[in-house]
């Protein structure tokens, strides 16, 4: 990012212009409570789902990601290692990290349908007397059960809270 005489930065000229060779650029949500590295992982997965990233595309260089977000390089490294572990990306020595596989892409119309049905369910839940936090709690526990049934390891730190047994 160029900084002019008064110390203000110009906006990026366009998508991809500031990010170098990667089709995507990371952003950070500091208030979300989700650890930074996980946010990056999710953003890559989300970009894969929506088709912004294709196999063979380069993920943002660590230096660029770090310069853009002012985060610790180890965080980016950790995110990329997680993506490697999931089989979604692979590092090429001296070149960077590249997308290897893709996630099931959900086409935009399908997403729209899913969204609509979710809104319908939410309306039902609300009329049943469940408030927002109750809905979140119900969704979280349902997600957990779903995950356990599918057999993939639960990411303990990603969950916003665990409730202990009520005596």
């Amino acid at each position: 990012m160029k900084i002019d005489k008064e110390g203000r930065s110009e906006g990026a000229a366009g998508p991809g212009a500031g990010a170098g060779r990667s089709p995507i650029e990371f952003r950070l949500d500091p208030a979300s409570g989700v650890p930074t590295y996980l946010q990056l992982v999710h953003q890559v997965e989300h970009a894969l789902r929506l088709g912004y990233l294709q196999p063979g595309d380069q993920l943002p260089r660590i230096r660029d990601a770090v310069a853009g977000l002012a985060i610790n390089p180890n965080t980016v490294l950790k995110a990329y290692r997680e993506l490697e572990h999931k089989g979604l990306a692979a590092g090429r020595p001296g070149q960077g990290t590249f997308v290897e596989a893709t996630l099931d892409q959900v086409a935009l119309p399908q997403l729209a349908t899913l969204r609509r049905s979710l809104l319908g369910w939410l309306a039902t839940a609300q009329s049943a007397g469940l408030d927002e936090d109750g809905i979140v709690a119900l969704m979280t526990s349902a997600l957990r059960d779903f995950r356990e049934r599918r057999g993939s390891p639960a990411a303990g730190r990603g969950a916003p809270s665990q409730t202990g047994e009520v005596a």
């Binding site: 110390g7 310069a67 853009g68 303990g156 202990g164």
Partner: protein, 303 residues
Amino acid sequence: MNVIECGGLGKRYHRAWALRDCTVAIPGGRVVALVGPNGAGKTTLLHLAVGLLAPTAGRISVLGREQPGSPAALDGIGFVAQDAPLYKNLPVADMLHVTRNLNRRWDQQHAQARLAELGIPLAKKVGKLSGGQQAQLALTVALARHPQLLVLDEPLAMLDPLARHDFMAGVMAAVAEEGITVVLSSHALAELERVADYLIVLARGRVQVAGEVEDLLATHRTFTGPASQALDDSERLRVVHARGGQAQAHLLVRTDRPGQPPPGGWESHPVSLEELVLAYLREPEAAALPGPRPLRDATAMTS
């Protein structure tokens, strides 16, 4: 290699101890955040590490086994003091020349490239640059020496939010490119969480917390539950700080096993770095320090 290692380090001014019984081993390859309230001793510790001060008690070594102020230490450490002191009447280009002539190792191309990228003109007088630009210039001359360790004393204090972001982005880019270790002091806790992977909390001249951020966050949780149970349960738990109303209490506890479920009746929440630091600052008697281990081998500490 430990970039800074101190044993029982203390510094006294007249009758007051600015720093006392400081024993830490800061491992290399990290971004180390040194936090604490004003007057806690952060600047004192950093000045001891770079050789601007001599210890009153204890010992300190830097970059493995060097003494602060020795030629090897001076070569290997880049320091930006509070308020980024520079020679304000010189133009930027001459400031670079002065630094080049005061050092053994200097990369003129790197310095010029960085300044060009930042849009800082070489002919302008340093005093006429904005606060953010002066901080960036101070950082540039430190980085162009290619140090192993970069020490920054409250680098963000006088900077506006954009300048702060750009400054930290520059530091992080240098870490990504060259693998330098960074020790920076700050009291802007929220910004440090993104950046730091090792934390030291100083309060009243003593080290309260020292450890990898990942470990600290994994071994601390906030338990929320009925206030009536708080007293009983807190005997079984290692409570750092307790707060709450009449019905509901929050206990910030230290656990040995990450992922350990809370006792019955309690909810467990993860802790942010800011919460953790504030809790310890409010409890002067509490401490989270690495256990006894040989000072030389910091890697054995990570669990």
